[in-house]
Amino acid sequence: MTWRDGSLLLLLMLPWLAALWIGAGLLTGRRQGEAWERSTARIALWAVGLSWVGVLGVDVWAWWVGMPGHRVLATWFESGSVTVTISLLLDAPALVMATLAGAGSWVTLRFSVDYMHREAGFHRFFAVLCLFAGGMLWIAVAGNVLLTFVGWEVAGLSSYLLISYARERAVAAENATRAFVTNRFGDAGLLFSMAMALTGVGTLEWPPLFQSLALPRNPPVPLLVLGLMIAALAKSAQVPFFAWISRALEGPTPSSAVFYGALMAHAGAFLMIRIEPLLWRTPFLMGLLLLFGLLTAVLAAAIARVQTDVKSALIFSTQAQLGLIFFECGAGQFELALWHLSAHASWRLYQFLLAPSYLHLGGMAMRPVPGWLARSHTLYDLVLHRGWFDAVTDALMTRPTLALARDARLFEEVVVNRVAGRPMRESVLASRAEWDDPEALLAPQVATVTQGRGLFGRLLEGVARYLHWFEERLVLNSSGDGLLKAVAFLGDYLERIEASLGQPRYLILLIVLTFLVIL
């Protein structure tokens, strides 16, 4: 690794190091309260700012010298024939996305310094936002699927943490869980793609994956692209993962801006642009992209018309634009999609950050529902219920899962508990209940110690009883008291012989005997 690669790696890791630093302070309880706000803000701003400057430096380098392309910095780990590296793929889409990510994160952080002032979770918010900034950067510059996945997961996790920012509110927690679980579908797709890449092509690096398509009849490749596509559709809240994003606005406004307005929602679209060479080989899947993009765009645009609050209206128009970007990808206009992505992300960030002030800016009356929408009851219903995506998900996924869990619990109670034995009385919960009971405090835990519960416990108890009897009777008794008794008995006996030997007549007899032997 040259010093240039090393310093670039360090710069890209800076946001995560900042998150770690702020998080450690939070964990030890030192970093809290208003007094520390300046310090936290400064750490976060410097870390993300320096990363951004680093990316800008690479931009300038790319301008003057040429695209750095695919660079392997180090080996992460090896296992069998699989080698995973820490590598960067610095081409045009990556640099555009990374520059955008750095800028968007920094601007949002700067905005939040004032916006979040005196909030109880100030430090937590900044730590998570730094985490997110790092995740977005790595999605952009990752040179292999695994690193993309790492960034992807970190971004998803920080989104979860910020949706449930107001963790004392049940709605926030539920929405966060829902958004996270939907996102996990996409993650499953990405994991699946990684498996396909490893088994089918034997590498996780992007460039060899792009070229491997030249191989004829490589069956895992359409599956690989499908997995990536599912991930992208889920992240960008396209049909059929339409519903989660509108629930995700529960977090503080700056986080909504940077996650769902500007950066994270665009990560899916970026992934499609990133795998352009792969998509060209699977025209059918491109057709699907076209379809889903169009559906999302139309549906979201219509839904946006009937929203009555600023943030919801903004998020649905964001979704509509994202749908268009996917449509462009499906149509093969990847460069246009990249332009569209950059312009839209920047503009939407500005709009979202401005959202809390719209009422103050004033003078803008709400536009009425357009006539064509108001006239059709079915259409209006559909739009008002946001396409019933939540209801459909509930019916198809949530309820069957819950039913399965209920059945499993029933099985647990009826069969497993009987066989395994009920939990001990001395469990923590029971002890809380006994806390105030004075009799329980005095009574010893009678007979609970050597009593088995459940099938195995009963068996053990029986065996133990038998072995105990054996041990007491045969081993300890014969050795403990028995051995001593034997020794005592022998001692008595010998003493008697000794005593008789001491008497003169036996001594004389002995002497006589000796003489007899000698003679």
Binding site: M424, R425, E426, S427, V428, A430, S431, E434, W435, D437, A440, L441, L442, P444, Q445, V446, T448, V449, T450, F456, G457, L460, V463, A464, R465, L467, H468, E471, L474, V475, L476, S478, S479, G480, D481, L483, L484, V487
Partner: protein, 483 residues
């Protein structure tokens, strides 16, 4: 300079100084002396060449020319871990002896003498000085003077049992001396001399050794002395008894196996069967006890079964596991007795049913007690895991499905360890316990040293494995052709 002789005599110097100085200095002197011995043992480890097999740092003086016996000290991959274990445990035991109030001078003097006697056994390279009768004297007085209510019976019982075993060992040794063509007690010479002896003869000799070492180890049904002695001895002595002195039996057994390979191969199935009985019998009885000390004593029987099983597999994995288990059981048994000793000192009860909610009353005690019992199950991250894994693999390799017997024993050990932890740490607060004094600094150091060693060996077993490697390879090679 003779480093091993110095190591052997350091505790004796300490004991002599204690005898001369006043009562006030006894404890400090004992701690200092055992610490110096421990450091000396580490220094010896530093001098040890890892990849050379056979005894190193050998100090050999002709002792009795008529019988061909030498005063020979040396360390190899089998004995060096035991030397380290014995010195570490003595140091920890002395640290933990702050509760002894009467006859402090005698107590510490005896502990140091016991250390010398143990080191003598582990470093001996000649069978004529491989004599653990020397450990009996200090132990007898320690148990008899400082023990619990039935101490007299326990001490006498212990001595009688061990002496009885020693008689058989002595007979075996004399038979071996007689059969060997070199007529020497020097270990490697005797082993070379026995190589061509007929198998039946070897078996007879080995049986003598087996009874002798079997009492010490202990092997079922020769374990009758163990519960009583462990329960009645003061806790620091129980630590040494279970942690280091039981290892003399298994260590001797490995030495005997190296000397009489044909006999061991012939008796392999028998040894394995004994090991399985040990495992299950000890484990189930440990589960049956409500007396904490008695429980740990029986768990020792079960854990030494792992050692015996490892030896009985007669391959390199198995013996690696056996040696590792000797070290890891030394540490875990010691920390268990240490914790029980501390609890007993504060509550004057060893009945598990009197305890509860230690996490509220004495969180540090609860932490170390929980760690000790979890380590005794051999959860991953503790030294026992590495040992049991090795033995498990070797057993599966050698016998296939009967290895399941070992998993059953592990399940049983998990059952009593989890139950004990639950009873100690959770549940209602027992008013009988009252206010528990927090751990003293010495006790914290002692428990911390053991806990760190257990976890360190569990996470980074490589250094210890490297230390033993050369000797274990030799063991594996010796039997590879004979099975």
């Amino acid at each position: 300079m003779k480093p091993l002789l110095l190591l052997l005599l350091l505790p004796v110097f300490g004991a002599a100084l204690i005898a001369l100085l006043s009562e006030r200095w006894a404890r400090g002197m004992a701690i200092l002396s055992s610490l110096v011995t421990l450091l000396m043992a580490f220094w010896v480890t530093g001098q040890f060449a890892l990849w050379r097999e056979g005894p190193q740092l050998l100090e050999k003086t002709l002792w009795r020319p008529q019988s061909g016996s030498y005063f020979a000290l040396g360390v190899d991959g089998l004995s060096l871990p035991m030397v380290l274990l014995a010195t570490l445990l003595t140091f920890v035991a002395i640290l933990a002896s702050g509760g002894v109030e009467k006859r402090i001078k005698l107590y510490h003097l005896l502990l140091l003498l016991l250390e010398t006697a143990m080191l003598g056994v582990f470093m001996a390279q000649d069978w004529s000085i491989f004599y653990w009768e020397l450990t009996l004297l200090p132990l007898f007085f320690l148990i008899n003077t400082f023990g619990g209510q039935r101490r007299n019976q326990a001490a006498l019982n212990f001595v009688l049992y061990t002496m009885g075993g020693s008689v058989f060992m002595l007979i075996g040794l004399l038979l071996a001396y007689d059969a060997s063509q070199f007529h020497s007690f020097f270990m490697s010479e005797m082993a070379a001399g026995l190589r061509d002896v007929a198998r039946e003869h070897q078996i007879l000799i080995f049986l003598g050794f087996l009874i002798g070492f079997g009492v010490k180890m202990p092997i079922f049904p020769l374990h009758g002395w163990l519960p009583l002695a462990h329960v009645e001895a003061p806790s620091p002595v129980s630590m040494l008894l279970s942690g280091a002195l039981l290892k003399m039996g298994s260590y001797g057994l490995i030495r005997a196996a190296l000397m009489l390979p044909d006999a061991v191969v012939a008796l392999q199935g028998f040894l394995a069967a004994l090991a399985f009985i040990n495992l299950i019998h000890g484990g189930v009885l440990a589960w049956r006890q409500s007396d904490l000390k008695r429980m740990v004593a029986y768990s020792s029987v079960s854990h030494m079964g792992v050692v015996l099983l490892g030896i009985a597999t007669l391959n390199q994995d198995g013996i690696t596991g056996a040696m590792f288990q000797m070290v890891s059981h030394g540490l875990t048994a010691a920390i268990m007795f240490l914790m029980i000793g501390m609890l007993y000192e504060r509550t004057h009860t060893r009945d598990i049913r009197d305890y509860g909610s230690l996490t509220h009353v004495a969180p540090r005690l609860a932490f170390f007690a929980a760690l000790a019992f979890m380590a005794s199950v051999g959860i991953p991250g503790s030294a026992g895991f590495i040992a049991e894994l090795h033995v498990m693999i070797a057993t599966l390799d050698r016998w296939g499905w009967p290895a399941a017997g070992m998993s059953i024993a592990m399940l049983v050990s998990a059952a009593y360890a989890v139950r004990t932890t639950g009873c100690l740490c959770t549940g209602p607060e027992r008013s009988a316990l009252g206010e528990l004094a927090p751990m003293r600094r010495m006790e914290l150091t002692a428990a911390g040293l053991l806990a760190i060693s257990i976890v360190a060996l569990g996470l980074v077993p490589a250094p210890l494995l490297a230390l033993m490697q050369a000797s274990l390879v030799r063991f594996g090679d010796l039997f590879a052709g004979r099975l």
